[in-house]
Each structure stands twice: as structure tokens, then as C-alpha cells.
Symmetry: C2
Subunit: 185 residues, 2 copies
């Protein structure tokens, strides 16, 4: 029988528990300081769509759920908020942004990007149709780069920063097999 995994590694569970059927990797949550700045970034620079916003007045925070949608996918989403809540939490690849009310006015508040010490979370990543075109546009739009493609050894990936300093990896899938060749074992 063929493995349900495509690579071998210690620790892999081979017989999938049927109880996990239908599990969806739905969301990645990042805290943000100022939604006006960050929503501009993710919708203008990265083209994402705000599919659901949840305001929790009794706890003074809001959640913003963003998806990278093709235009035709817009029609798959319900205008009904309850239905759209179900859709939001049921589909893969949502970016969830948590905003604690008033944080944009707190001069001392910055969030931790996970790459400075103490390390943990590293980055989110977007694939783009053309890495060079994407990076040229990011430059024109004044986006902050951690690493341009030409920096360092890995010349087929870039890293940019979102407004809170979280890292976003940018890559063009078709370029990666050749680009990785010289580094892989």
C-alpha cells in the first residue's frame, strides 16, 4: 500500500484516524496594533478580501478574517452574516487579525514577530505568479523588505514586513525546484 505521506520522516503516523476526516486547517491568527493600517496593507498590497468582521464589545476586541480570493470566488460567499460565519470558519487559509480596541493609541505597544528573540512563529507566506514583478511592485509601493530575492543565498524567495513587523515570505512556485537544487541534500 502506498503511504498517505509523500516523504519519510520519524514520527509520521501512517494509518489515518477516521475521526480526523473533515478537519480543515482554517486559520492563522496574528495580533495587530492598528486595523486601518493593516487592513490597507493586506487588501491593497496583497489583494486580500475581508470576508468577516466580528466585534466583541463586552471584551473590547475585534476579529478580522481575510482571504486571498479569486474574483469568481466572491460569488461563493453569502451576504447573510450567520451563513458567512459558517463559511469563514469552514474553509482553508484564512488570516485572522485580532485588534484590541485602543491599541493603536498605545505608544508603547508593539507586537512580537517571532523572529527576534524569543523565537517561535516565523512567517506567513504567499505564492505569486511572478516573483520579480511582485517585488518590483512592493518596492514601488514602499513595502519594507527583510530580504530581496538577490540578497543572501536563497535567490528565489523574498521576505517583506507587514505593518506590525510580521514577516511574509513571497515566492513563485515554478522557480523553486531549480532554485532549491543547490541547497538540498
Amino acid at each position: 500500500m502506498m503511504s498517505r505521506h509523500f516523504e519519510s520522516a520519524p514520527g509520521l503516523n501512517e494509518e489515518r484516524d477516521p475521526a480526523t476526516q473533515g478537519y480543515v486547517f482554517n486559520q492563522t491568527m496574528l495580533r495587530i496594533k492598528d486595523p486601518e493600517v493593516t487592513l490597507d496593507f493586506y487588501t491593497r498590497i496583497l489583494g486580500m478580501t475581508l470576508v468577516r468582521k466580528l466585534d466583541f464589545p463586552e471584551m473590547n476586541f475585534s476579529l478580522f478574517f481575510l482571504a486571498a480570493l479569486d474574483p469568481e470566488e466572491l460569488n461563493n460567499w453569502s451576504q447573510d452574516t450567520a451563513e458567512r460565519t459558517v463559511q469563514t470558519f469552514g474553509r482553508p487559509a484564512l488570516l485572522e487579525l485580532t485588534y484590541n480596541w485602543g491599541s493603536e493609541k498605545d505608544a508603547d505597544l508593539t507586537y512580537h514577530n517571532g523572529n527576534d528573540e524569543p523565537k517561535g512563529f516565523g512567517h506567513i507566506g504567499f505564492s505569486v505568479p511572478n516573483l520579480d514583478t511582485a517585488c518590483q511592485r512592493f518596492d514601488e509601493l514602499g513595502v519594507s523588505f527583510v530580504k530581496r530575492p538577490e540578497d543572501g543565498k536563497m535567490n528565489d524567495i523574498a521576505f517583506i514586513r507587514d505593518p506590525d513587523g510580521y514577516w511574509i515570505e513571497i515566492f513563485e512556485p515554478g522557480r523553486l525546484p531549480k532554485g532549491l537544487e543547490k541547497h538540498l541534500g
Copy 2:
């Protein structure tokens, strides 16, 4: 014209830049201490599939790319590693785990989950077909809970911990609209 967003909020960019067409929210990267323990967790407890592993011997690290796949999706993946690299970096909702060789032997090394200070990244999240069934199974398997559904105010979500202490939210989409009702503005 209907907005391309489904909610209103300051900062939203309305006219999507065509240059962002085809951008895919592909990955979320977390550093892990011990791949044997963590791959067991994500493949056994959450049912994920290892679709690509990249070893970088010159830099002493490995990357593991995991997807929550339905069984029939297994057939969509290529057995050719170069092709599968392209697939891995092109599709949404990959969990990327970074392993720096030898970290499992470093008694002092722990990774930062972003919820203790300094805060930043919050969690990843999985939707499940049935929250109660899922949580009962997690309990039976000895999974560590941050919050069970019955704890606190939000009784339709749970949080568990992965082996490095990263938080994973667990929810059943169909239960959320009713569960959120009493908290929303």
C-alpha cells in the same frame, strides 16, 4: 457596485490591484524542537499529511510541509519531487515546520508561543465536523488543553497545545453563529 469586501472597516482597499491576481495565502511557518514528536502530533492527532520535506544540509535545517487533505486529494499530488515542490508552494493552507538540526537535544531550547509575553502570533486553527467528539478524542489521546469548550465564556471553541506549546483553536463552524450571538455587537 457591490464591494469586494463583505464587511466595512477603515483602511479597506476597494479597487483590487490586478497585479495581486493569483496571490495564494500558502503557508504558516512555526519553528519546532523535535520533528519526531511534532510530526506524530500533526499526523496522528490532527490527521495531516506530510506532502514535502526539504533538507538543507549546508545550513543544518529541514522544512516539513503538512496539509490537511481529504483522502481523495491524495491523488492530486505528484510522486515527482520537483513537481510536488511546485504543488506544495502553490496551494493554500500549508503548515510549514522548521527544524534546526540538533534542537531536540538542546535541553535549554523552547520556542515562544506568542501568547505569553511578548505577544504577537496567537494560534493556528482547525475546523472539525463535531467539536464535542473532537475534544473527547483529544482528551482520550492525552492532548494538552489551554481551554475546553466548557471553560470561560466562549463555549463553542477549544484551544489545545501542540508539542512546542503553540496554541491550536478547534471549532465546529455550524455551532459558531449561535454561540457568538451573545458576545457580538
